[in-house]
């Protein structure tokens, strides 16, 4: 199967700190892939490099076979490669419906559409997706007034509204209570299975990532340490050492 996202020997340094060194990974279309590693191992830096938040020092990134290494954030997003943030980011002073409406795919927006109201289909879809994440009754509240967990769900719903081909999720379950986590995992799987969205997930919760991902990459000290199926990785001595600090 051809790779949807291909990262080839990417390096990124901030001053003297090498955050990513020669990292390569492939994500095939329709898969759920995990990215793990101890704090400070360069996971979020890699995400930022992929979506064009900062330029990489060397290496290349392709999406659907297209070179995206030097494209900027909005351009990459419009290709259908969208990220969510570790520190949840929503539009706090707008209500949930508005947050959803403005998250429609932007690639084909004409000048006429820029200055007209959203058609009812968009609102219907926004409501359906809010229902999907369990926020329907809160749809007229300001997003900034929601709890952290609810904001996280809203951000996920916004990402789905954008109809991406691929979603990069940065710790989707951080700060969410255990009951809600189970619901979120199920929704991530449904987004993958029903909507065909490829997922690349950074996660610290091992129970979550081992259940969710089909393939996992593990980073440590900015380098790719190991990759494989969840079961293999759990037995990998290097991964265990990295997490326990023997590295």
């Amino acid at each position: 199967m051809s790779a949807l996202l291909e990262v080839h020997n990417v390096s990124k340094a901030f001053g003297g700190v090498v955050a990513n060194r020669d990292i390569s990974l492939r994500v095939s279309r329709g898969r759920i892939v995990g990215l793990i590693g101890p704090n400070g191992s360069g996971k979020t830096t890699l995400f930022s490099s992929i979506v064009g938040y900062h330029p990489v020092d060397s290496g290349s990134i392709t999406f659907e076979g297209r070179e995206i290494t030097s494209l900027r954030v909005p351009e990459i997003a419009r290709l259908g490669l969208v990220r969510t943030f570790q520190q949840t980011r929503i539009y706090g002073k707008m209500n949930c419906i508005q947050n959803m409406q403005i998250s429609v795919p932007q690639a084909r927006a004409t000048v006429g559409e820029m200055f007209s109201r959203f058609p009812p289909e968009v609102t219907d879809k926004a409501e359906a997706l809010l229902d999907f994440v369990g926020l329907y009754s809160k749809r007229f509240l300001r997003a900034g007034d929601l709890s952290f967990g609810q904001q996280k769900l809203l951000e996920f719903a916004m990402a789905l509204m954008n109809q991406p081909q691929m979603l990069l999720l940065d710790e989707p379950t951080a700060g969410i209570n255990p009951t809600l986590i189970n619901g979120l995992i199920e929704r991530l799987q449904r987004a993958n299975a029903d909507l065909g969205i490829t997922l690349l997930v950074i996660e610290h919760n091992m129970r979550v990532i081992m259940n969710l991902a089909e393939h996992i990459y593990c980073l440590a000290h900015g380098e790719l340490l190991a990759d494989g199926a969840p079961a293999e990785l759990q037995k990998d001595q290097r991964v265990i050492d990295a997490y326990l600090g023997a590295h």
Partner: protein, 332 residues
């Protein structure tokens, strides 16, 4: 009585007050004309400052261009008064919108304080350029074409132009804020990085927002120049320390990022200011300064912002379940 009825009643009330005010108080026509100018200033400032989160101190630049372009066109052509005013306003609008379209991509790439400081510098620089440019009369200013008629008629004439412009700005913004454009600039205000990460054409929307402000500010320049009868570079056209600061204060006082806030803020501010002139002559600037401090300290969210905190339900912030929503639809 439902919301739509109340809203309709408010619109009719404000519109008719605007129409008959100069007939009831003919001695105050100039002040009333300036009231609508203030409303227009606050409304157009709020597009960037309130709805988009970009505090611009440079909007006065667009107004000043409007004053000068109309005055120069009236000075240098042989057209009749009305034609020259119409042509001048049209050209002013084009020049102001073009200025926003050209400068916008450059300065709107800056964020936060950097943007504010940059626009402040721009306003000062342009005022100095016009104050030293002989073609536009340099420091001694320029006199636009005189209104062919009585002074009282002139005042009425310009009053209704400015009233119409303020109403047009309000109606246009009301439509725009409900469109994709409105939500996009709100998204930019709340989190521009997120907006970019979601693929929104942020630069396109930011420049468009400034062009909308420029459209109305450019149109307003000519009539104000005609009403005052003299375009001074620093006291009227590019009056940063007065108009330029007031437009910010009025929007903040009324409530940034709301449609009615700037209107309410402008009315309260203008009336208070006239009151200061009347009762504290000699101290009016001190009183105004005091008022500014009080606004910032006690009303940082403005009148509408304060109301929204106290009465979120009035602004539609309600928890609504499916059953309740369906019942609501049936009732409506």
């Amino acid at each position: 009585m439902n919301d739509a009825t109340i809203r309709g009643a408010v619109y009719v009330l404000v519109a008719s007050a605007g129409l008959v005010a100069p007939l009831l108080f003919p001695n105050f026509t100039i002040q009333l004309a300036f009231l609508w100018l203030m409303v227009l200033f606050a409304l157009t400032w709020d597009i960037l400052g309130g709805q988009m989160g970009y505090n611009s101190f440079g909007n006065i630049l667009l107004f000043g261009l409007g004053c000068y372009v109309t005055a120069v066109l009236q000075r240098d052509t042989e057209l009749g008064f009305y034609v020259s005013l119409a042509a001048g306003m049209g050209l002013s609008m084009i020049v102001a919108v073009a200025a926003a379209a050209i400068l916008g991509p450059l300065i709107l790439a800056m964020r936060g304080h950097y943007f504010a400081i940059c626009t402040l510098g721009l306003g000062i620089a342009v005022a100095d350029i016009f104050a030293g440019w002989d073609y536009v009369g340099a420091g001694s200013g320029i006199v636009p074409r005189l209104y062919p008629g009585e002074v009282a008629d002139r005042n009425f004439f310009y009053y209704y132009i400015l009233f119409a412009l303020a109403v047009a700005a309000f109606v246009t913004l009301r439509v725009l804020y409900r469109s994709r454009f409105g939500l996009a600039i709100n998204a930019i205000r709340d989190d521009e990085d997120k907006a970019e990460a979601m693929g929104i054409h942020t630069t396109r929307y930011k420049v468009a927002a400034w062009m909308v402000a420029a459209f109305f500010l450019g149109l307003a320049g000519g009539p104000v120049a005609g009403l005052v009868g003299f375009v001074d570079p620093r006291d009227l056209a590019f009056a940063g320390p007065t108009f330029g600061v007031w437009m910010v204060l009025m929007a903040i006082l009324g409530g940034k990022g709301t449609l009615w806030g700037p209107v309410i803020g402008a009315v309260v501010f203008h009336i208070t200011q006239e009151f200061f002139w009347t009762y504290f002559l000699g101290w009016q600037r001190v009183m105004l300064g005091l008022l500014i401090v009080l606004i910032v300290v006690f009303f940082p969210m403005g009148i509408m912002g304060w109301l929204r905190e106290k009465r979120p339900r009035w602004f539609g912030e309600v928890v609504r379940g499916e059953a309740e929503a369906k019942a609501g639809e049936r009732a409506a």
